[in-house]
Amino acid sequence: MVAIPALAVEDLSVEFRTRSGVVKVLDHVGFTVEKGETVALVGESGSGKSVTAFAVMGILDAAGKVTSGRAMFGGSDLLAQSERDLAELRGRELSMIFQNPRTALNPIRRVGQQIADVLVRHGGATRPDAPREAIKMLKKVRIPDPERRAEAYPFELSGGMCQRIMIAIALACRPALLIADEPTTGLDVTTQAVIMDLIGELGRDSGMATIFITHDLGLAAEYCDRIVVMHAGHIVESAPSRALFANARHPYSAKLLAATPGETASLASLVSIPGGLPDLRRADLPACRYSGRCERLTDACAQPLPHKTVGERHDVACWNPL
């Protein structure tokens, strides 16, 4: 029997309508996240990682439109849900934490109150009980002196503290899926590790699936079971972390790995990836959006992208893989 995944994104395409034309931000993206599994979405900025998350959560900007695809979650398609039903799920069944925790919290509302708002909304606590439950959540994310901190405003707390508050808000209702969008960007290195450990630990305790969005392959390898590599709105490779590091098959993944400082790589051996992302407004986008930067370009690359399975849960979208 095959286990039902926590989230299965299939064939997801998203367009943004801007003044200078339609931007095809996501093009037939698909991946799955098993229950209790931690999956990293990796790619440079502009590759569509965050848009994927926003589309799944149903919080795309007004300019963004989902043009195809499904996001199966708990037996139903998130993309087909009404805004009303989706709002019921958000914060309860699927949650998200963002980068820049200090601006992601309401600046003029006490942090305890912000946690309580979510609890009350999703039936996690009654209004009178909510402050006490909020303090319990603060304890859970290991904020010292939680009774006093619950009364604080975000501007009175450090960035790391604010990110713990964000985690408390996201996990308050024990969601089945957490999307963490660059949760450690802008935090110092020691705080990064603490935050990542906290997310990992709280996730394991409740059997929660986690999608971890980052541009840092090293961080992804350290904390995630599997890695999904995105480039210019395509998923180019997905593999278990170890398999990807040992045997990256897509030229872009390989370059990305070589550009990641690791324990073994010396600074001199770090490479940069030539070129930039293609202009996604172009009408004549090549089938493989990496082809403009690729050293292994062949005539076959003009055909529609293949989806080759090259190993145990290891897929690559390339005609000429390594």
């Binding site: 959560m57 919080i59 900007d61 007004a62 989706l86 709002a87 019921e88 799920l89 958000r90 914060g91 309860r92 949650s95 998200m96 963002f98 820049n100 601006t103 992601a104 919290l105 309401n106 600046p107 003029i108 509302r109 708002d117 979510v118 909304r121 999703h122 405003y153 501007f155 009175e156 964000m166 808000i169 996201a170």
Partner: protein, 337 residues
């Protein structure tokens, strides 16, 4: 909060000092003979000389300034030439009429502008957004005295649903017992519904004219600030947490968006206090604006000076109130001061 109050009071002191110096300068440092101004147009040379000695204008400027301050400290703004009454007493008597008109106009303006701005931002690009845009551009372009006249013509002369645009109360109705000086409140307190209705119908047109004029900056600021807050990170967090749309828009977005709107209130008060003069002239409203205009026309200078000073002090006090209101809503200001 007390600390905030004290620090804001401290910043008001230089403003008040500046206002006193300017009002002093307006009368003493100008070309022409201040004694002649204060004595009035038809005064004889002897009368002017008398006024000069009486006002101490024959003394040196610093002495005069000290004298002016001493007079102010005693609440003395001089006497009106035409009525012979002390200016302070007249201003105090007429203040409730102006305050009632201005406050009703303010409540109307805020009550229309803020919901309009919020709706325009939440439903961006719909008809209500376009309506908001028209109102904000047209509103500031309407000369308040002209809108007042136009409304008087339409609602009094043509439709005959508004009373004659003359004063606070129809001549057949008696003013309510003076408790607050606000006819609307006093008539309710004394249970005099007929007077209430009369006062309200007299108040409606001038208050609406003033409200139309002042709601534009409020609506514009509400829309703009609401739009930027709705695009902010923390509103995205609130939506991602599945909070009810009502909570997102009001508890999260609106409370933050209202902060720049509170700041705009300062400008709105400046508009309102100026418009007050014009509207009182159009509707023969017995407030301090009309008092000053009548004094201007008879070159009766003491009331004008008293009026300018009173309005400036009132405006500074209102700005102080705005700062405190801001502090109430925004903990960053409250706790940092």
């Amino acid at each position: 909060m007390l600390k905030l109050l004290l620090s804001r009071l401290a910043t008001a002191i230089p403003s008040i000092a500046g206002v006193i110096v300017v009002t002093f300068m307006l009368t003493r440092l100008l070309p022409g003979d201040p004694a002649a101004y204060f004595a009035g147009l038809a005064a004889s040379p002897q009368a002017i000389a008398e006024v000069r000695t009486k006002l101490g204008l024959d003394k040196s400027l610093p002495e005069q300034f000290v004298g002016y301050i001493v007079d102010l400290a005693h609440g003395n703004l001089g006497n009106s030439l035409s009525t012979g009454q002390p200016v302070v007493a007249e201003i105090v008597n007429r203040l409730p009429a102006s305050a009632e008109l201005t406050l009703v106009a303010l409540f109307l303006a805020v009550g229309i502008a803020i919901p309009l701005g919020v709706l325009a931002a939440v439903k961006q690009g719909t008809w209500i957004d376009h309506l908001c845009r028209i109102v904000t551009t047209a509103g500031v372009s309407l000369p308040v005295f002209f809108t007042g006249l136009l409304m008087a013509y339409v609602f009094y002369y043509l439709l005959q649903i508004a009373p004659a645009p003359t004063g606070r109360l129809d001549a057949f109705l008696s003013a309510p017992t003076d408790i607050t000086g606000f006819y609307l409140i006093d008539s309710i307190l004394t249970g005099n519904l007929e007077t209430f209705r009369g006062a309200l119908s007299q108040l409606a047109l001038p208050a609406i004219s003033m409200a139309i004029f002042s709601l534009a900056p409020l609506a514009r600021m509400t829309r703009g600030s609401m739009l930027s807050v709705l695009n902010s990170d923390f509103v995205r967090t609130a939506r991602a947490s599945g909070l009810a749309p009502r909570t997102v828009v009001f508890t999260y977005a609106f409370r933050n968006a209202v902060l720049p709107v509170i700041t705009t209130l300062g400008m709105v008060f400046s508009f309102l206090l100026g418009a007050n003069v014009l509207v009182e002239t159009v509707f023969a409203w017995p407030g301090i604006g009309l008092y000053a205009v009548n004094a201007l026309l008879t070159s009766d200078y003491a009331p004008v000076q008293g009026f300018v000073l009173a309005m400036a002090v009132l405006y500074i006090a209102l700005n102080l109130l705005i700062d405190l209101l801001y502090g109430l809503v925004d903990p960053r200001v409250r706790l940092d001061s």
